[in-house]
Amino acid sequence: MFRKILIANRGEIAVRILRACRELGIQTVSVYSEVDRTSLHVLLADEAYLIGPAASRESYLRIDKLMDVAKKSGCDALHPGYGFLAENAALPRACTDAGITFIGPSAEAMEAMGSKTAGKQLARRANVPTVPGTSDPIENPEDAQALAQNMGYPVLLKAIAGGGGKGMRVVPSDAAFRSAWRDAASEALNAFGDPRVFLEKYLIGPRHIEIQILADAHGRCVSLGERECSVQRRHQKVVEEAPSPVVTPELRRKMGDAAVRLGRAGGYVNAGTVEFLVDADLNFYFLEVNTRLQVEHPVTEQVTGLDLVKLQIAIAAGHRLPFAWETITPRGHAMEVRLYAEDPDNSFFPSPGKIISFRAPTGPGIRIDDGVYEGWTVPMDYDPLLSKLIAWGNSREETIARLRRALDEYTITGIRTNVSLFRRILTEPEFLRGEIRTTWLDEMLARPYPPAAPPRPGTEEAALIAAALWHSAQSNASAPGGTEPQPAPSPWKMEGRRQQMDHLP
């Protein structure tokens, strides 16, 4: 087993990895940028080293600095977390050169599976269903239309050279095919100087369901079941759960087999996730592979009882997986919400700043993977993920009830969070019935807010009394000779932010 692990990340995932190391008796080394000196992952680590200014490209993305820290502190392994360099094949290569074990797949497996196109080719070779269509351009519209008829409408036309939605057209019916083809091709020509398009089946309201796999270096590759991640805002997952409300044991087995087949075909070792789109008829299509730990890995941990980070470390140390796929029996239901420092009532604007007060829910069935504490200033330089709130229950209903209870107990002041978004999602009838798809949340947010349940009688009066009492305490405290406990005043917060801004390039 390793003696000391470098955690090449920050925030909640760095803390998560650090906790696993501590439980395994492994020393931890954190790295930090100038604005992260007081971050939780620095406080909890055994050792921590400054690696540069706030901007990621000058700190958390600097492989050379990471290698310097690893060597100087005597680390024998490195965990990349997610984001930053986690899917950059240059990092495992640098680790190999430095004689440090990278906790993740090999550079080769990362490249073979990580990119969308390489992954799709591998999927075809491994006989894993992909979205029907061509990946080569089609020369003439007649062939294309025949193919579309064959495939069934709607279909999607996509520019070969495409990106950002240019040269893309949804074709709802055969009648619309010819004009859509002309539009797509001419738009593609204008945008990329290349008119060629190809054809894909257009999935209506698909779900995003992914399979967690684990593979050791001794040829065992297992599926730990699925996660349902269809609740997304602008392609960003915000609620994840396991099991999926629609996956049957039969489908679970089929998707798990496909994911394992893909993992084997790519020579994959360590933890990885195979993402699928699932249509209304429960057909599944390969989307991409994430060659790393996912943000939402805790929901799989809660239903399987496994600790994925510890297993990643054990696999990297050359251990054999101690179980077969058949022995993994998910229990109950788990759901995660991602708490962000952003204001759902104000266009989801980011809300960095000093956390004035913070009380996190606890009790039965509640887990928090956190990266923040009271008094800490959330820097404006990174992803706004504060913590993940994860609930477990015997049923989906109990899990949702626990999550709602926990959200009601979660209080934080000084910054805004998206807690109210989850309060709303967790009462939407469609969500409660599990009728969700990747477009569902954006559609929900586009609808006018339903009239809120009126606050219970007395709330208004209580608010008035609180406002008056707080205001008078504030005035007393700021008056000379005031004896009240001094709530951090607004100017102080402002100053904290200003100091932090001064660190910016």
Binding site: A341, E342, D343, D345, N346, S347, F349, P350, S351, P352, G353, I356, S357, M380, D381, Y382, D383, P384, D408, T411, T413, G414, S420, R423, A452, P454, P455, R456, P457, G458, T459, E460, E461, A462, A463, L464, I465, A466, A467, A468, L469, W470, H471, S472, A473, S475, E484, P485, Q486, P487, A488, S490, M494, R497, R498, Q500, M501, D502, L504
Partner: protein, 171 residues
């Protein structure tokens, strides 16, 4: 102590007069709009107050919003309160800012101004983007709340701003 409070919330916008007697961190003897009510309140943390109203227990978290008003969170509900302090009546310089016609556009979060989308003197539409502020890897367009003329731009590209800092005036 007497406070005049303008309370804004879901379906509520009213001015009230609250009288209370403080006793250290706590208060009892409360009257709202002249009517005595069975309530007591106690500050349980710098930004949290427990209010007992009859037997109903409320925990209210208080913070200050960028425009200086108080934000009051009570479970899933949120109110905003503007307070006119009796002591502030003596020698107070200005009431709550309520500029007629001219709108001051404030930064809703701290960040860095990465782009100006209009120039001083431009005619702007309601909803038109004026300034792009970047924070936490996101670019956020700050829009004009009304149609009119961009009267002043108070920031330049590359400048860091605090939450609540004025960015521009639209007349």
């Amino acid at each position: 102590m007497k406070f005049e409070i303008q309370l804004t919330g879901p379906g509520v916008k009213r001015k009230h007069v609250v009288r209370l007697e403080r006793n250290g961190d706590a208060c009892s003897s409360v009257a709202i709009d002249g009517e005595a009510i069975d309530a007591n309140a106690v500050q349980i943390a710098p930004n949290a107050i427990s209010v007992m109203l009859g037997g109903q227990s409320f925990e209210i978290h208080v913070s200050r919003s960028v425009n200086g008003a108080l934000k009051l969170h009570c479970g899933a509900h949120e109110f905003s309160a503007d307070i006119i302090d009796p002591r502030a009546w003596r020698g107070r310089k200005h009431g709550p800012v309520e500029v007629e016609g001219r709108q001051e556009i404030l930064a809703p979060m701290p960040g860095k101004v990465v782009r100006l989308l209009a120039a001083v003197g431009d005619a702007v539409e309601a909803g038109q983007g004026l300034v792009v502020v970047e924070a936490m890897k996101m670019q956020n367009e700050i829009r004009s709340p009304k149609s009119g003329k961009l009267e002043r731009l108070l920031v330049r590209e590359g400048q860091n701003v605090n939450a609540g800092e004025a960015l521009a005036w639209v007349e």
